[in-house]
């Protein structure tokens, strides 16, 4: 295989894994899969890009701004689009439609404010997107940093689940009522997880921007690719997200070369469907509880 292909696949896969981790963080205590996650990623990229391009702020400030703003927006989403429908029925699926509508609202507003043109974003120095040759492949220092940062973040998120708060999140995911009886408040965990899930989404956008440009088109495609990654890895598993991200990134890179770039999405979906048909709960997921 062409070494460049592997580089491209792993780099794109890291981005998908980042998006998938955002999904997972939200999903664990709430069993809600946020349909607006792609738009939160997109918004993170746009805020960071604008902060750097318009106000000439340094990368770190732009990134911090994006994380804070999108985290807050995640919290707002939880308050207006998720908590009310979950209060009505904790096991219903009305949130599919409410988070989807939230996504449409954000996408439209961002489109109105920023317009359709992509904004180029420079990586934070000393990193650059200039490529050099490494083991026969063309890579940039930014790509290496991105892949490393994703692995570090996955490790960080997994280690959070070994803290007491993290165990409480897992407890809510496993048995909500038993968690209630142990003094764990699912509502407050749900708020926190939307805040963090939003911030992680923004981080994914900020990290993606130097490679993909910041544009409104990021939202829908990252929603779907992030979903495919989370589903293949097993919803809730961050290790699974990382590995599935690489798999999907490579499949996509391969499809672009062998077929044509227009068939990337079809290839991704074919892989996802095959995995789900063989292992409905993904490579690292657990089956849901029995109903009787």
């Amino acid at each position: 295989m062409d070494p460049d292909l592997i580089v491209n696949g792993v780099v794109a896969g890291s981005l998908y894994a980042l998006v998938a981790m955002g999904f997972n963080i939200l999903y664990r205590p709430t069993n809600v899969f946020n349909f607006a996650q792609g738009d939160l990623v997109m918004l993170g990229a746009m805020i960071c890009a604008s902060a750097m391009a318009l106000w000439s702020l340094p990368w770190f400030v732009g990134a911090a701004l994006a994380l804070a703003a999108v985290g807050l927006l995640g919290l707002i989403e939880e308050r207006i689009a998720v908590a009310p429908v979950l209060r009505r029925s904790a096991s219903g699926h009305a949130w599919v439609i409410t988070t989807l509508s939230f996504s449409m609202i954000i996408a439209n507003l961002v489109g109105r404010i920023w317009g359709p043109d992509p904004i180029a974003v420079r990586p934070p120095p000393p990193l650059t997107t200039e490529t050099f040759e490494l083991f026969g492949a063309n890579v940039s220092s930014y790509q290496i940093a991105l892949v490393a940062a994703t692995i570090a973040l996955a490790a960080g998120v997994e280690s959070f689940y070994r803290t007491r708060a993290g165990k409480a999140v897992m407890a809510v995911a496993e048995d909500r009522e038993a968690a209630l009886l142990r003094g764990i408040a699912p509502e407050s965990l749900s708020r926190w997880s939307f805040l963090f899930g939003g911030a992680i989404a923004a981080l994914a956008g900020v990290l993606a921007a130097p490679l993909l440009y910041a544009s409104i088109g990021l939202g829908p495609s990252l929603l779907l690719k992030g979903f495919a990654t989370a589903a293949v890895g097993g919803i809730g598993s961050n290790r699974g997200a990382l590995i599935a991200g690489y798999v999907i990134g490579l499949v996509e890179a391969l499809a672009a070369v062998v077929l044509s770039p227009g068939y990337q999405m079809a290839a991704t979906f074919a892989v996802m469907l095959i995995v789900l048909l063989i292992r409905p709960h993904g490579l690292f997921g657990h089956p849901e509880a029995r109903s009787v």
Binding site: V96, T98, S101, A228
Partner: protein
């Protein structure tokens, strides 16, 4: 004023009269006011309504959110257009192909949904829509890319080509037929099964409904309707390009039904009408479209989850209540017939074991129940009684051992297959469908007793209607039997606990079970209801069914059961006649805490 209004509201044919009047207006209108533009818009609206009716079946009744129906319309449109233009097919086979192709893709989209939660389906359909949109432009050899398909001819019948007005009438007729068929279907065993699969899958399987089959049915039918609408879309527009199917096309249909009322028959029609009544507004605000869609969906889901039709129903009920009219429809009438006898089945459980993690729930349990016998399983809480029922009815996998009903091995069958083999049951917590009437809940139990196909149900063929009438008579008779006929038309969720249990027993009986299993039927019943339950079980035994009853209420057990098996910690402690088992010292000390003596009352 109020009295005229009341007289009007009381008119039994009010609804039908209004609908027929509306149809007449719609058929005659083009002769009077049929400009070309209006016809075009009205036909287009008809096409959209068709898609929305199909989506409503899937979303409103099946509970699945599809974000890919726009893509299914595109598939139907391209299938029809390409075969008509490139291959010179006539409209009719092209429309059939459109339906088949959309149904096939719909099935493919649905495959992973059978084993996964609802929201996977939403995302998978969204992804499919994206993939299809990509293919429309990429696969130029087939789709002509951005250029699209040009010069799609009008449908012809007997050499006569449809004018725009004919096409309007044709689409209108299809909409009316689809609505009538859908109403028939939803009112049949298929409609009830669909709602049961959405609201309470366990109740559905216990009544013999296969979750996978009913879901396939809903996906495929819904997709086929979208495909048909696509074919109509193509011949109406005469030119189709990828831009006719924008990314938010699917969301548009979802919005239409949520706006009109998801899960309401008229919802798609009302939703589409309202949408087209404000076209001016929408063109002015074209660039805000997504925001408006999103905001409207969010507000509707939060404040009017049943849409405009749901809100109107609420007002209608208030109006009737204010006028002193009842909101509970009259119980339908059905021919009276005696309750038919049932051939009780023999049950044999051999050496069955089950473990959950570190806990042995059942250890090598044997149980033999002769045909027509009422057999109780007793034992302290946690001794494995309900686990045993769940193994017999297929909800838990059998780790080891054999279970046979009438000599036929059932231990590896799915729950719905065991129900079809004649095993009915009730649950510790009654599993009714709270938003359906008591009668509809009981009719769900007749799912396997009725044999007619979905098509004959949709067309209301005489054979299907005969079966439905027979089930209705049977259901009403069993409701009478359990003393609930008076409340047949009330919502099941509003019955008190004890009556919900009785309704659940009636549901199991309508399936004419050869083996009926009752899980703690006496728990939480009042004294009067308890007496009724005793008589009821005696009457069920009288019909001939074999009854297995898990029960704590030992006096009831002693009164009505001829055999008793006592379990403790997953093993059989004693088995035999009630007086023998209840005087067994081991049973007394295990179960009663040595204090309450049973059998004093003569058993």
């Amino acid at each position: 004023m109020a009295s005229t209004l009341r007289a009007l509201l009381e008119w039994p044919h009010l609804r039908r009269g209004l609908l027929i009047g509306l149809c007449v207006v719609l058929y005659v209108a083009p002769l009077a006011v049929g400009t070309e533009y209006r016809l075009f818009i009205a036909t287009q609206m008809g096409v959209y309504i068709l898609v929305a009716i199909g989506l409503n079946l899937l979303n409103g009744y099946g509970g699945q959110v599809s974000l890919g129906h726009g893509a299914l319309v595109a598939i139907g449109a391209y299938a029809a257009a390409l075969t008509m233009v490139d291959l010179h097919w006539s409209f009719w086979p092209a429309a059939l192909l459109a339906m088949v192709m959309a149904a096939g893709v719909g099935l493919l989209m649905a495959l992973p949904a059978f084993r996964l939660s609802t929201w996977y389906f939403a995302l998978i359909t969204l992804g499919f829509a994206e993939v299809i949109a990509g293919l429309l432009t990429e696969w130029r050899a087939l789709t002509h890319g951005f250029a699209g398909v040009v010069g799609i001819p009008a449908p012809k019948a007997f050499g006569y080509a449809f004018t725009a007005r004919d096409l309007y009438w044709f689409v209108l007729t299809l909409v009316v037929l689809t609505l009538v068929g859908m109403a028939n279907l939803l009112n049949s065993r298929f409609g009830r099964a669909l709602v049961a699969v959405r609201d309470n899958p366990v109740a559905a399987t216990a009544s013999g409904v296969s979750l996978v089959r009913i879901k396939i049915f809903a996906f495929v039918l819904s997709a086929a309707v979208a495909g048909l609408a696509g074919a109509l879309f193509a011949v109406q527009k005469t030119v189709i390009t990828p831009e006719d199917f924008p990314a938010d096309f699917s969301v548009f249909f979802l919005l239409v039904i949520v706006l009109g009322g998801s899960g309401r028959l008229a919802g798609p029609v009302v939703g589409a009408l309202v949408f087209f009544l404000v076209p001016e507004l929408l063109t002015a605000l074209q660039s805000w479209r997504l925001l408006i869609y999103g905001g409207a969906l969010l507000l509707l889901m939060l404040y009017a989850p049943h849409g405009l039709v749901g809100a109107a129903e609420g007002l209608w009920k208030k109006l009737r209540a204010r006028l002193g009219l009842p909101n509970i429809p009259p119980t339908p009438v059905a021919a009276d017939a005696p309750i038919r006898a049932i051939d009780g089945a023999q049950l044999s459980v051999r050496d069955v074991s089950k473990r959950f993690g570190g806990v042995a729930a059942l250890a090598s349990v044997d149980l033999d129940v002769a045909p027509g016998v009422t057999h109780a399983i007793v034992g302290p809480n946690g001794s494995g009684k309900t686990t045993l029922l769940n193994m017999i009815s297929g909800y838990y996998r059998v780790d080891q051992g054999a279970i046979a009903v009438e000599g036929r091995r059932t231990e590896n069958l799915a729950p719905h297959a065991i129900a079809r083999a004649g095993v009915g049951r009730t649950f510790q917590t009654p599993r009714l469908l709270p938003h359906l009437s008591v009668l509809e809940n009981v009719l769900l139990g007749a799912f396997t007793a009725e044999k007619h196909s979905w098509l004959s149900a949709a067309l209301a063929l005489p054979a299907a209607r005969r079966e439905q009438q027979a089930s209705l008579a049977e259901a009403l008779r069993y409701l009478e039997f359990v003393g609930l006929r008076e409340r047949a038309m009330e919502l099941a969720g509003e019955l008190p606990h004890g009556q919900q249990r009785l309704a659940e027993i009636a549901r199991a009986l309508v399936g004419r079970p050869k083996l009926l299993m009752l899980d703690e039927p006496a728990a939480g019943l009042s004294l009067a209801e308890l007496d009724r339950l005793g008589e009821l079980i005696a009457a069920i035994r009288g019909i001939g069914a074999t009854v297995v009853i898990v029960e704590h209420h030992l006096e009831l057990v002693a009164d009505i059961c001829s055999r008793v098996t006592a379990l403790e910690r997953g093993a059989v402690l004693a088995s035999g006649a009630p007086q023998d088992v209840f005087s067994d010292q081991a049973v007394v000390s295990a179960y009663m805490g040595a204090h309450v003596r049973i059998g004093e009352k003569g058993a």
